[in-house]
């Protein structure tokens, strides 16, 4: 066999493998499409709406006076402009930290109790935070992302978040940028958005929270970051920590102009 002929055959085998994988990728695209009809996230949205309106905590009041940034009680469109600086807390907050703030200040729930179960696990450990996030975010579906960095603290969080995005560490030298720094990349068959580009950040950020079929749970953006760092082999990112808000700020601001379309459904 001549080397040239041999190389040609090798090429044919590679091409065959590529075709096989392309059909796998196409098949999975169809699978995801089939899931869109009937998203169990709606069950969380409904429970969250109930929790929002129900008088709870020692003060026996609902969250209907909670200010998510557009004024007390305004839920419609609120998520599309978070995170933002809240003067009453003198802090940049994302939705989750703001919900905890309202539970503490309005309902009189202790901060420890409010933050105790951010990520649910089955029927015995349902998370109120996840349900509330599902409800509030669903009220921004169809709204254009419009996150401000006009306040110096917002700009500071944005810039710090960008630094963290590129921060590499741990035994594997991983950072966010390892998986999300280039176009058209996959882990196994899982597509990875390029979060250093506007389009990538828009597509990714506007589809969280999401019902994860692999877990049978609705997962928030706080969970997304927490679990990315686990896979990066980092220690655990604390719920509502400044680093989590800074990264959220970086990605949410970069998603500006895109239409929010969550809670979504993902693998």
């Amino acid at each position: 066999m001549t080397p040239r002929l041999f190389a040609g055959l090798a090429g044919a085998v590679v091409a065959f493998a590529a075709v096989a994988q392309n059909s796998t990728v196409d098949g999975i695209a169809k699978y995801r499409e089939a899931l869109q009809d009937g998203n169990p996230a709606e069950l969380w949205e409904a429970r969250g709406e109930g929790l929002w309106k129900e008088p709870r905590g020692p003060n026996k009041v609902s969250l209907e006076r909670c200010d998510l940034g557009l004024g007390a009680g305004v839920v419609k469109g609120a998520y599309a402009q978070l995170p933002k600086y809240f003067a009453d807390a003198d802090r940049v907050m994302d939705l989750e930290t703001r919900l905890v703030w309202c539970m503490v200040k309005l309902q009189g729930i202790s901060e420890a109790d409010a933050k105790k179960n951010p990520f649910g696990n089955g029927n015995d450990k349902k998370s109120n935070i996840e349900a509330l996030v599902a409800y509030v975010t669903s009220e921004s579906r169809g709204v254009k992302m419009n996150v401000s960095v006009a306040h110096p603290k917002e700009m500071q969080m944005y810039r710090v978040g960008e630094k963290m995005f590129y921060f590499r560490g741990g035994p594997h030298d991983f950072g966010c940028v390892t998986c999300h720094g280039a176009d058209n990349q996959r882990i196994r068959l899982q597509d990875l958005p390029n979060l250093t580009k506007i389009e990538g950040a828009q597509k990714a950020y506007t589809t969280w929270p999401a019902y994860r079929v692999s877990q049978g749970e609705l997962r928030t953006f706080q969970w997304r970051l927490n679990d990315c760092f686990r896979q990066q082999r980092f220690p655990e990112l604390e719920f509502g920590s400044d680093a989590s808000i800074a990264l959220t700020m970086f990605l949410a601001k970069n998603a500006n102009g895109a239409t929010f379309d969550a809670p979504a459904i993902k693998r």
Partner: protein, 157 residues
């Protein structure tokens, strides 16, 4: 055709479709509102026991049973969309069976007159396997199969 049919009827897990005919046979018309659950059918694991209980004949492969919204590849076996339409007249029930699951029978839907013989739901699959749609129509059994691959997801962690 004959060989293909034998393949369909003899499943790898040692359970045959014949066993499931017995399983699917309990839902009689008019019985719909009864809160009964056929434990024997859902427990089906070995064919020996159920073969004896068989009342009907072998199911006939039918091109009039159509899968829709059922992917060739499922990214995650925990949730696999399955849609089945029966174009066979007088369809009475539609059952969903997963060949390689520990128990083959996943669900049975009784279709009263006036309800379209078409259902869509989601099942769990332990591994790549055939999904069978078993239709009872006018007292007879018909079957169609679809092969669904279950892939690995994510980064193994």
């Amino acid at each position: 055709m004959n060989r293909r049919r034998r393949q369909v009827l003899k499943s790898g897990s040692g359970v045959t479709l014949l066993a499931l005919i017995a399983a699917a046979g309990w839902l009689k018309p008019g019985d719909a509102s009864a809160q009964s659950w056929n434990k024997a059918a859902f427990d089906t694991k070995s064919m020996a026991d159920t073969m004896k209980a068989l009342g009907g004949g072998e199911p006939v492969q039918s091109k009039d049973i159509i899968f829709f919204q059922t992917p060739d590849i499922a990214e995650n076996g925990a949730v696999v969309p399955v849609g089945i339409t029966s174009n066979i007249p007088k369809t009475e029930s539609i059952a969903v069976l997963i060949e390689k699951n520990p128990n083959m029978l996943a669900a049975v839907f009784d279709i009263p007159p006036g309800t379209e013989p078409s259902i869509s739901t989601r099942v769990k699959m332990g591994q790549s396997s055939n999904i069978y749609a078993l239709v009872k129509a006018d007292g007879k059994y018909f079957v169609a199969a679809k092969d669904v691959k279950v892939t690995l997801g994510g980064c193994g962690g």
